[in-house]
Symmetry: C2
Subunit: 254 residues, 2 copies
């Protein structure tokens, strides 16, 4: 299994605090030693960092932890390999372009039998079941909507249906973004918390780090964090229900 971390914010926000928690699970407090990756949206552009080495030892992970890259949408993943060997092309998040937007994707779970789903436009580069699922999902969207639908809810409803089909094959917890919203689907485990004024403090579960959000934020900031397991004590994390699609825009659940 792997761990997912996502963020949606109404203003460019860094994810240093949450990423510090997650990267401990990459070989220190957790067994996810088989690589990690993170994608930051900046407008329509994406900045990606990835490494097949454990995040707790990674020089690049340290840069990401210490250098506050500000973004409105972030998707991150640490990997414990099951399907597909440990190598760069098998590290999440995966990225493809559709409709002139970069789509990024990370998955937690296993999907035996995913290769029975044939692919048309998008072809996996690596050998994971996850990347195959992502390519299939984008194929479905592309075929159903050669152009983006007028209403985003139409798109989300269709993606939800595709996720349900994928869940029939196994475990399918997903973070997906098209640079406009962060789309989360829960099969077994996915939690979220929204931080907004009045801000308080929170303590990481995985490292001896406490943050006082009052020092780090302005009153208008709204930030949602989504993770496989709650990352902090002293905050109330919501569980996304099995089979539920939860979309975040500008820091808030839609």
């Amino acid at each position: 299994m792997c761990e997912l971390l996502g963020m949606s914010a109404n203003v460019p926000t860094d994810i240093c605090f949450s990423f510090t928690g997650l990267m401990q699970r990459g070989g220190r407090t957790g067994p996810h030693r088989d690589g990690w990756g993170i994608a930051f949206y900046e407008g329509k552009g994406v900045r990606e960092f990835r490494d097949p080495d454990p995040s707790c030892d990674s020089e690049i992970a340290r840069l990401v932890q210490n250098y506050p890259i500000k973004s409105r949408i972030v998707i991150s993943h640490i990997r414990q390999a099951n399907a597909g060997r440990v190598c760069l092309e098998n590290t999440h998040p995966f990225m493809r372009e559709l409709w002139g937007r970069y789509w990024t994707f990370a998955h937690n779970g296993q999907l035996p039998g995913i290769r029975s789903k044939t692919l048309e436009h998008y072809v996996p580069v690596g050998t994971t079941d996850s990347e195959h699922a992502f390519c299939w999902l984008l194929d479905q969207i592309r075929e159903r909507f050669p152009k983006p639908p007028k209403r985003q809810t139409t798109l989300w409803r269709f993606i939800h249906q595709c996720c349900e089909q994928l869940r029939e094959l196994g475990v399918y917890n997903m973070l997906l973004s098209d640079s406009r919203s962060l789309i989360c689907y829960c099969s077994t485990k996915l939690y979220w918390v929204t931080r907004r004024a009045p801000f308080t403090t929170a303590k990481l579960k995985d490292a001896d780090v406490t943050i006082d959000f009052r020092q780090e934020t302005s009153l208008q900031d709204i930030v949602s964090v989504i993770a496989t397991e709650p990352l902090t004590h002293d905050e109330e994390w919501q569980r996304i229900k099995t089979g539920e699609l939860q979309v975040f825009k500008r820091g808030q659940p839609c």
Copy 2:
């Protein structure tokens, strides 16, 4: 105008020395202040770093300069914007997937009129003429070869023809890779040098750095470096002719 830097090697090799030279031109010894990017292939996977800030000031560029990421194929670019504003989605190299391989692309030059070339499958995310040219090029390859041709020379010949068409629109110096080879096309300026035993020393033109390759290499290493302008004194850089396509594999020109 922009500057290009590429590398092809027979064993995983770091590009710290050449990148140190290039990044000085990103705002210090050169005017290319409008972002930079670099893609490292590791097998079929790609590691990318990019920044819309000048490379000479960039924290991420410093990481790339100091942390020896080893790769067989590298494509890098520093930008002086002409078409397309300064933002993350307009920084090269650009990347798309075709045939289950990541293709990366960087361009130096201007292509007024490129938008008259219609696109089918790949759509630009940013607003540069370069990304439009890349999308068009991949469209052509995809249409002509729904599956990869048996002989790579067949592919290279076709890419050469496409480059000639692009050159008719303006200036088109290009670095392109499909993870197997580094494909270079020269419209106005592109130089290369191959380093192999017996190794000697070289001094950067843009920074007070000399390297003794004897200390850094083993006897079997073969590395070619391709750049818009020669990066070193004391080495004999070859000029690629106007209209010539030069492919490198495992460190050597083919």
